[in-house]
Amino acid sequence: MASYANQECFQSNDDLPIVLLHRLPSFNSPLKDILQPHFHLLDPADSPEPASSFLSCHAKSVRALICVYNTPLSAATLNLLPSLELIVAASAGVDHIDLEECRCRGIIMTNASTAFAEDAADHAVALLIDVCRRISTADRFVRAGLWPVKRDCSLGFKMGRKRVGIVGLGRIGFEVGKRLEAFGCSIAYNSRKKKPSVPFSYHANVLDLAEDSDALILCCSLTEQTRHIINKDVLEALGKEGVIINVGRGALIDEKVLVQFLLRGVIGGAGLDVFENEPDVPRELFELDNVVLSPHRAIFTSESLEALHELVFTNLKAFFSNKPLQSVFQIE
């Protein structure tokens, strides 16, 4: 049992604060075991009753809900929870939650940024180095037994000292910038608002950022405003030696255009952890050596999941003790 949840709990289930576990039936999270001794967990996915009737009967007084990974949380579901004050999103992205409804109702939301930011940033940097230095391509080359035959693998490109443009300077974006500075990269960014306390240069829009960057790294959330924020114009501005790294959401990029531009050499390369229609990945990308593909794993390390569980536990405890919450997501 994780050390933070070790405190003995002598209260009966009736006295424990009620928390709703909102999950798809296929999402079996260890959270249930960790939280059960400390909270009265309601788990509609585990009940034979249909979810809407379960919630109508049992969840009227529920004040706090955990949304497990990207289980969709719609206005319709929220309407069945009149007492809801807090959503603990056990994920980094929150685009699967009806944010407008939450804003109208004044529901507080926390996400897992603080638990995941370092791993997501590590993954973004890993993808950038791999694309530039052709690490996965070269590893394939060696394993196919080609080194003794062909002698030389094609050269990569210098990754350090590149001009890096970060799209979205939240926690993850900031951690990416901090890491890449140590490689001699110059860091610029675009974000909804300029961040005066940050040592990176601000660009008012993504097009300008792309013009001035050798590599674009997408770290922003997916909203109506950011859907296809990386479009034909931005990719053309990035240019034939430019590299794009996406650890945000697939729909941030116009994927059809991206694939065409990679095939035609309009841009130099891509490192993609996310796609518009996962787990479907455009097959044309499989033949390319200047592309690195990963199966939506940017945050999936055992350490980050541990940190997530601890964060969820700590935030729930804090909520029910009227103490400050961590990793609050500002719904705008």
């Binding site: 993954h123 890993a126 690490i135 394993r143 500075e181 499989f286 939506h296 794993r297 999936f300 390390t301």
Partner: protein
Amino acid sequence: MESIGVLMTCPLHDPYLVEQLEKRFTLFKFHSIPDKAHFLNSNKASIRAVVGSASAGADAKLIHQLPNLEIVSSFSVGLDKIDLAKCRERGIRVTNTPDVLTDDVADLAIGLMLAVLRRLCQSDRYVRSGQWKRGEYKLTTKFTGKSVGIIGLGRIGLAIAKRAEAFSCPISYHTRAEKSDVKYKYYPSVVELAANCQILVVACALTEETRHIINREVINALGPKGVLINIGRGPHVDEPELVSALVEGRLGGAGLDVFQDEPNVPEELFGLENVVLLPHVGSGTMETRKEMADLVVGNLEAHFLNKPLLTPVL
């Protein structure tokens, strides 16, 4: 200078370097000459320079066969393929390519650490082979915060440390003698360093003392959760020991850019998911290879024009 014979002993296919050398000198590509003994006999008088690399340089035997050899210019920073004692004895100048490749090698070392821990190559294969449609890839392990131990704290070692620090990795090191101007934790032996770090990087020069510096004892100390990164030279590592440790799970993983007998890589490694195997590409970027070639050519030109060498070792 066209009549000056330059013998390229390494099987280099760098077109830019070859082109620059052929413009200025009479270039002989040793690797593609079938009867090397005959060739040397006929041409030894005209050969006044050797261009070597990490794969081949100038050993005592070759130096002995070239009575008019004046300079060895290496397309590498490592000097392990050059008999320096013999060169010193004969008054032969030696140059290499320091500094220009430091960043690329350090970038690659970090790239290897990330690729091994986060299973980047493996998961790329997972996507390309269609397996993602059948299920999620498993959890990997975090890189940020892992302790990094560096053997050799020269230019490359320090550059690796600087980058790893940005990932909040505690840094420790081993060198022949402790460095007073460095803030990292020193261990007087490689075994102690290995026992006290999670990722061990070989970043020192290859000499008689450092041959097989990574042996069974060190590998066991690094352990089943430890990762070895080698961006030095293949002979730094007792390769059969490394292979059996990886296959048996006594070592957690490895990122290898260099091997005992390049371009041959032990095939037992091909099936392992906890290794990343690269074909000696530490300095393998367009930009750096051009800078290295310019240094090789620049050093030769300086020598034959009686000017100071750009990056002399001897």
